[in-house]
């Protein structure tokens, strides 16, 4: 090989490296954008599931989630979760984006000689991708506390969850320093590919704490303990949200590999996506059938319930997060079917506890996440890596190490659940004591929208429908406002 050829080869190698790095970041960004769109899904799932007089409020909360979350995660969340150096409990660097190499490296890469190659900063792509995960965890809560939580309470807990509670859990499992990831001496590593535990159990526990402390909505449970459902105002909106979430989950799980340029990445991404859709499908169908049978047995009439089907499907997708890159498609079907059944009974259980969860957020995320966290190590193909060798899951001959891996996932599940539950319990109790937690009774009765936001979700449409006077101007509804003169 003459010198010229060597030069060209070196040039090619460098170009490939650049392209790989760009592709990886681009892949994260694109998936991050779809996951960001999940916020829209959550917003409409929730908007459709509340009464029309609280719609603006819930949309407002979801909008702020996006915005408060990004500032909070930028300032504190990312540093706690991924700032390096960090200890096994928490990271501590890069507060407010400090100490991050921004441009210098990429400029160097431009003018560099052929000898070496230095990567440019992947901070931005990482930040964005992790931020959308954090925002997802925080959004889960808003569903469970809908229609009765105070607005400032919402801002405070959204800030705390994205800025502190979620990042610490994420640090444990996903940061190279975290104790659940390094195994704290056991050599094990918790298996949670896309956050069944980190995102959904964390969010679900927060939702549970919030809903429990808030208490049910007025009129949800009658004095004699009967449960009186308060239906959401628009099924089409709910299903719009659900559809967006279904798409979002595909990216959530598919994108969790966070790179696309390495050998086998494509296969792993497509396996994840296939498993996610199969798990969701199985869960949707199984919860539809379970609900139908269950309500038949209870004598409540037999219905093909749309809401149960979509929520079941979401539960299945949540459950597939933990192991979707490492289980066979049949295992995804199994996980999903179990998750669907668990969802229906978890929902009954939550009702039995007299906890009012307008969105079934607890059943979907907490229970779906639990199923996923436990199913992943049991059904895993590669399973734990001991001394650089994949031992395989229990089914694939992993033996003792595999079962220890299951145990470690259980440890992780409890510690994250406990962490999130305790933090949120403290937070919400404090808010409750200072009176910032719940809106006044009068506001709850007359709807939050007009009282707090001055914007009614449907200023006219349904008025027209209901009293059938389409062309009558309704002057009394017009809000007059003086422009300062």
């Amino acid at each position: 090989m003459n010198e010229n050829e060597a030069m060209q080869l070196e040039l090619l190698r460098k170009q490939m490296a650049i392209l790989q790095e760009n592709l990886d970041q681009f892949f994260m960004i694109i998936n991050g954008m779809f996951i960001f769109f999940m916020q829209c899904g959550f917003a409409f799932l929730e908007a459709g599931s509340v009464r029309s007089s609280n719609t603006v409020n819930i949309l407002m909360k979801n909008t702020l989630d996006v915005f408060v979350g990004s500032l909070s995660f930028f300032a504190f969340g990312y540093p706690f979760a991924y700032g390096r150096p960090g200890n096994s409990f928490i990271g501590h660097n890069n507060f407010f984006g400090a100490n991050v190499q921004y441009f210098e490296k990429s400029v160097i890469a431009n003018n560099q000689t052929l000898g070496g190659y230095e990567t440019s900063s992947s901070y931005f792509a990482n930040f964005f991708f992790q931020y959308v995960f954090a925002a997802t965890a925080a959004t889960v809560v808003s569903g469970a506390v809908a229609e009765r939580a105070d607005f400032s309470c919402y801002i405070i807990y959204s800030f705390t969850i994205t800025g502190f509670i979620y990042p610490v859990g994420a640090h444990w499992v996903w940061s190279p320093d975290g104790w659940l990831n390094t195994g704290a001496g056991t050599g094990l590593s918790m298996q949670d590919y896309a956050g069944s535990c980190v995102v959904h159990v964390c969010g679900g526990m927060a939702a549970l704490a919030g809903a429990k402390i808030l208490g049910p909505r007025l009129g949800r449970f009658s004095d004699d303990g009967l449960d009186k459902p308060i239906p959401g105002h628009s099924v089409p909106l709910v299903s719009l949200g659900a559809f967006i979430l279904l798409v979002g989950f595909l990216c959530f799980n598919g994108g969790s590999i966070q790179r696309i340029s390495k050998n086998g990445d494509g296969l792993e991404v497509s396996l994840s996506v296939t498993n996610t859709i199969l798990s969701g499908s199985a869960a949707g169908l199984s919860s539809m059938l379970t609900h139908r049978v269950h309500s038949m047995v209870k004598g409540k009439g037999k219905y093909w319930s749309l809401l149960m089907t979509t929520n079941g499907g979401l539960t299945g997708m949540v459950a597939s997060c933990a192991g979707c890159n490492d289980i066979a498609p049949w295992a995804a079907l199994l996980t999903g079917s179990v998750a669907g059944v668990v969802f229906v009974f978890a929902r009954q259980f939550v009702l039995w506890l007299k906890i009012d969860d307008p969105l079934d957020a607890i059943s979907v995320h907490l229970f779906g996440g639990t199923v996923g966290t436990l199913a992943a190590p049991i059904l895993a193909i590669r399973g734990q890596t001991i001394n650089g060798v994949s031992v395989g899951g229990p089914i694939y001959g992993g033996g003792v190490d595999a079962w220890r891996g299951v145990g470690w996932s259980l440890v992780g599940l409890f510690s994250i659940g406990l962490w999130s539950g305790l933090c949120c319990f403290t937070l919400f109790t404090t808010l409750d004591m200072v009176g910032l937690m719940r809106i006044p009774k009068s506001v709850e009765e007359s709807g939050i929208d007009m009282q707090k936001h001055g914007e009614h979700a449907y200023p006219e449409t349904f008025v027209r429908i209901i009293d059938d006077r389409p062309e009558t101007p309704r002057k009394n509804k017009v809000v007059k406002r003086n422009v300062a003169s």
Binding site: I230, V235, L246, N263, S305, L306, M450
Partner: protein
């Protein structure tokens, strides 16, 4: 795109059936996934397969090469092979499964539109199972695998041209929708005895338009993504060309449909309107017709085909009304009309077109034709369209016909009048008691008063 279809349909039915139609679309997705996983992909892409059908990879396993599949899923080694080694390509890839699955779901969703507001729920599940599990995969096998008879051709290079499924997806769905709508019969009150037509407008144009917009975006991915690869030379240009053609085809379809609707009504002396739904459906038809050849066509040809598609849409729209077939979504006009236009016009306008078997030379479409093969190509596409229509039509007639005879096809008159949502799903789309401001939710007795007060 499922989202798009769901909301186009949800907005186009009456509010009492909204939950029902969304439910159907959700199930499409879920049942479709399971069926396509179990048998559909196998019938379509299973290798080895014969000219007619594939048979392998049931439940994503590989019966002839059990060891190899196990390696695929069990062995961590495959995640670490070196680039210098020969890359071990798999016949079954998850990416391919996923991509083909969304196409299958699209085909089956089309039908739900034409049969909206009056079909039994269980019927829907049965037919959805059949369509994604058998009818559609067989057509895919014919047209998109090397061994399928339409793709294999006569050995002289004659092949069926259908890049992204004008025929495979839309013609299939459209035919099934056509048969279904005929056998079901119109909704109550749709046609008067004297032959005039009552409009049964959808309950919200907004939601329908949302669906339309999502579909526009979806079609770009549908056509752009059909290239399947992005790493070969020229792939990027083809994807971009496909998308540009899709946009232009949709644009001309929409504008033509809008103008035709306005002028025909004006000529007839009736009120003439700028109709939004006609425009959106015209745009969709244009995009459907682009599916067949958008990767191999100059932009001006896209505009021409889109225009024809717009006209085809209006023609089918009127034919359906004349025949007194009730299609709430115009699914037949959009997909059957658009699909047929695409399949028949693509071989005329393509630039590269077919490849001669001996010389590997591209002969071009009829316009650019350098060889009689170009004309044969048109005939072969016509044959393909007829074959698809007959196959789908016959199976649909058998399926829907037998269900109709068993009496499980259509809901009872009472259910149809009261709406499927409450009686079948227990979930009205817009529960009235959630719309009362200022009234505590437990005082159900006062609901009536509250309505009037609001």
């Amino acid at each position: 795109m499922q989202t798009g279809f769901a909301f186009l349909e949800a907005g186009s039915v009456r509010s009492k059936n909204t939950t029902n139609i969304i439910m159907k679309n959700v199930l499409d997705l879920f049942i479709g996934a399971i069926m396509y996983f179990a048998v559909g992909y196998s019938f379509a892409y299973g290798q080895p397969g014969n000219r007619f059908i594939g048979h392998n990879y049931f439940f994503a396993t590989n019966k002839d090469e059990v060891m190899k599949t196990k390696i695929l899923t069990l062995n961590p080694q495959i995640f670490s092979f070196l680039l210098t080694n020969k890359i071990n390509t798999q016949n079954f890839t998850y990416a391919s499964w996923f991509f083909q699955y969304v196409f299958a779901a699209t085909a089956s969703t089309i039908v739900s539109g034409a049969m909206a507001e009056r079909t039994e729920f269980t019927t829907y599940m049965v037919y959805c199972t059949f369509l994604t599990g058998f009818v559609y995969p067989v057509i895919v096998h014919w047209c998109w695998t090397d061994v399928g008879w339409l793709q294999y051709g006569t050995g002289t290079g004659l092949k069926y041209i259908d890049y992204a499924g004008s025929g495979v997806v839309h013609l299939t769905g459209g035919t099934a929708a056509f048969v279904g709508a005929i056998i079901l019969g119109p909704r109550i009150g749709r046609f008067n005895n004297d032959g005039t037509v009552n409009d049964l407008p959808g309950h919200t144009v907004t939601v329908a338009a949302l669906g339309g917009f999502i579909l526009f975006v979806g079609f770009m991915a549908f056509n752009g993504g059909s290239q399947l690869t992005i790493s070969n030379p020229g792939d990027g240009a083809i994807v971009a060309l496909s998308i540009m053609n899709t946009v232009l085809g949709g644009a001309s379809g929409a504008i033509v449909a809008m103008l035709v609707y306005k002028t025909t009504d004006a000529i007839r002396g009736e009120d003439h309107y700028w109709s939004l739904l006609i425009t959106i459906n015209g745009g969709l038809t244009g995009m459907v017709s682009m599916c067949a050849g958008c990767n191999d066509m100059l932009p001006w040809a896209a505009v021409v085909i889109g225009t024809v598609a717009g006209l085809a849409f209006m023609t089918w729209h009127h034919i359906m009304l004349k025949l007194r077939i009730d299609d709430p979504l115009d699914a037949v006009a959009v997909h059957l009309g658009g699909g047929l236009t695409g399949v028949l016009l693509a071989p005329i306008f393509v630039v590269k077109g077919l490849q001669l078997a001996e010389t590997k030379e591209y002969v071009g479409g009829i316009i650019y034709g350098k060889h009689w093969l170009a004309f044969q190509g048109f005939g072969w596409n016509l044959l393909g369209a007829v074959a698809i229509i007959i196959w789908t039509g016959v199976i649909s007639i058998l399926l829907f016909g037998s269900m109709s005879l068993l009496g499980v096809l259509r809901v009872s008159e009472e259910v149809e009048l009261k709406g499927l949502d409450k009686l079948k799903h227990g979930e009205p789309a817009y529960p009235i008691e959630s719309y009362c401001d200022g009234v505590p939710p437990w005082s159900k007795g006062k609901v009536k008063q509250c309505n009037i007060k609001v």
